[in-house]
Symmetry: C2
Subunit: 121 residues, 2 copies
């Protein structure tokens, strides 16, 4: 029950759901997501921490950045796997997800250092 509620609480905020949808394009670091949503880095970090705590995403440090990605289907608990499937199946093709995906594609084409320079984080 405890684990399950961590997942449902993580999913109860639309911006966290948007993050899960964005992560379908592959791993992303904090500043890329910050750029995508125009939120303060601390806000994004908090959202990622909540998603991580629910085991919906994993993190990995590489060079200067911390990359987050969706939990591996093979390794994740059943409840997590089904939650991710549910989110992606329900919202993967919405206009909102498409708009974010489009903006994200542009961000992914930009050098990370440039993005971070634009945010004085």
């Amino acid at each position: 029950m405890r684990d399950f509620m961590a997942i449902t609480k993580a999913l109860s905020d639309p911006n966290r759901v948007r993050i899960l949808l964005a992560l379908r394009q592959g791993e992303l670091c904090v500043c890329q997501i910050t750029e995508l949503f125009n939120f303060a880095p601390s806000t994004v970090s908090k959202h990622l921490s909540i998603l991580h705590h629910a085991h919906l995403i994993t993190s990995q440090k590489s060079e200067r950045w911390v990359y987050y990605r969706l939990a591996e289907k093979k390794l994740a608990p059943v409840a997590v796997r089904e939650a991710l499937d549910w989110v992606h199946k329900s919202l993967g093709k919405t206009d909102e997800a498409a708009a974010d995906a489009k903006k994200l594609k542009r961000i992914l084409r930009t050098d990370l250092a440039v993005i971070c320079a634009g945010q004085k984080c």
Copy 2:
């Protein structure tokens, strides 16, 4: 997205999840759920209203009571059906659900009028 968030917000409270688990035993009226959880009737009514608004449950008035039941699999939107499956599969066999189910069985054996008399609602 709007509909989806209504569902995730509905699922983000443990007592509402408990209600969804309890409703697997069949339709229940407000005072039966009130008895099960020892909450004020107004609190239970609010929870049911939120679940109803998310289309996870339906209501039907009969005699003096309003009965709530799980949304019909055949009629419910896909997101609703999958949410209910997910909840029941993830938590249906937990100790917590079993304890509620046991208490609920006792309540279901009791006459409704007696239950309502015990709550001065």
